[in-house]
């Protein structure tokens, strides 16, 4: 039996004990699916997240409608004698 006094002997010993292992294919597939599904939502810029995007869109639409009404009233006022 080797004495494991040198670096190489320790390396040989540990490599023989810590051999490469792989997760089950089912686990790997499931985790990959979870990660790809979760990544897009998690890393999406803040302004593109629905809780930010929806109020901004609603505000912009309201402003556009309001501006349209305002322009209509001005046009109407100018047309009146």
């Amino acid at each position: 039996m080797a004495n494991f006094t040198s670096e190489d002997e320790i390396k040989e010993l540990l490599k023989s004990v810590c051999q490469p292992a792989a997760p089950s294919p089912e686990f790997k597939d499931q985790l990959l699916q979870d990660l790809t599904r979760g990544a897009e939502g998690a890393t999406r810029p803040r302004w593109r997240q629905p809780r930010v995007l929806v109020p901004i869109a609603a505000t912009l639409i309201s402003v556009a409608i309001g501006y349209g009404i305002w322009l209509g009233q001005i046009a109407e006022a100018r047309l009146l004698p």
């Binding site: 039996m1 004495n3 494991f4 006094t5 670096e7 320790i10 390396k11 010993l13 540990l14 490599k15 023989s16 004990v17 810590c18 051999q19 490469p20 292992a21 792989a22 997760p23 089950s24 686990f27 790997k28 985790l31 990959l32 979870d34 990660l35 790809t36 979760g38 990544a39 897009e40 939502g41 998690a42 890393t43 999406r44």
Partner: protein
């Protein structure tokens, strides 16, 4: 061990990961999942269930914190660092739950399905070595695995374990000494 990170353009790759590009996530996973699993599996005393939980936590945490990755280290080093912390968390949780001991699985629970010893003598020797490694404190086991199994330089280990290179050298010396003691082998002096 060759580092396959050299095949990945880090800057562009990290950019793609930050955008949540599914192909970048798939590439990250396919490149490193087996290596991280193997590393964790050996650190937790060859416990498949524990290794799978920790690998899952590691990749989820990596994708959450990818915005903080500054590209100053290799991607594998960064993932190892996250995995290392998750292994420590795992043992802390187990200790809190008081269901398990801090050390790895007992030898009779250790799977030997991946080992193919040439003879009874080598099988016994491996069994002794496995017991000795499993009975070491976690940070000794981790530093020995990074140094001799992963064949990482001290500087890289120091980044992963968040210690100075000098501290890692000291830790390695103590870990080797302890391993020899548990194998009943004369110390290096």
């Amino acid at each position: 061990m060759a580092d396959s990170t050299s095949t990945i353009d880090n800057a562009q790759f990290i950019k793609d990961l930050r955008r949540g590009d599914p192909s970048a996530v798939t590439e990250l996973y396919n490149t490193y999942a087996d290596r991280i699993y193997s590393l964790v599996f050996n650190q937790v005393g060859r416990d498949h269930d524990a290794a799978q939980d920790i690998v899952q936590e590691t990749f989820v945490a990596a994708l959450k914190s990818v915005a903080k990755f500054r590209n100053k280290s290799k991607i594998y080093t960064w993932l190892c660092s996250i995995a290392n912390n998750k292994v420590a968390d795992f043992y802390r949780r187990r200790k809190r739950q008081n269901k398990y001991q801090t050390k790895a699985l007992e030898p009779d629970q250790i799977s030997s399905d991946t080992l193919a010893p040439d003879s009874v003598e080598s099988e016994e020797r491996q069994e002794d070595a496995r017991q000795a490694l499993s009975s070491l404190p976690l940070h000794y086991r981790q530093v020995l695995i990074f140094k001799y199994v992963e064949e990482m330089p001290v500087l890289e280990i120091s980044k992963i374990m968040e210690r100075s290179p000098k501290s890692i050298e000291g830790l390695l010396t103590r870990a080797r000494k302890e391993l020899r003691a548990r194998l009943a082998i004369p110390s290096e002096g």
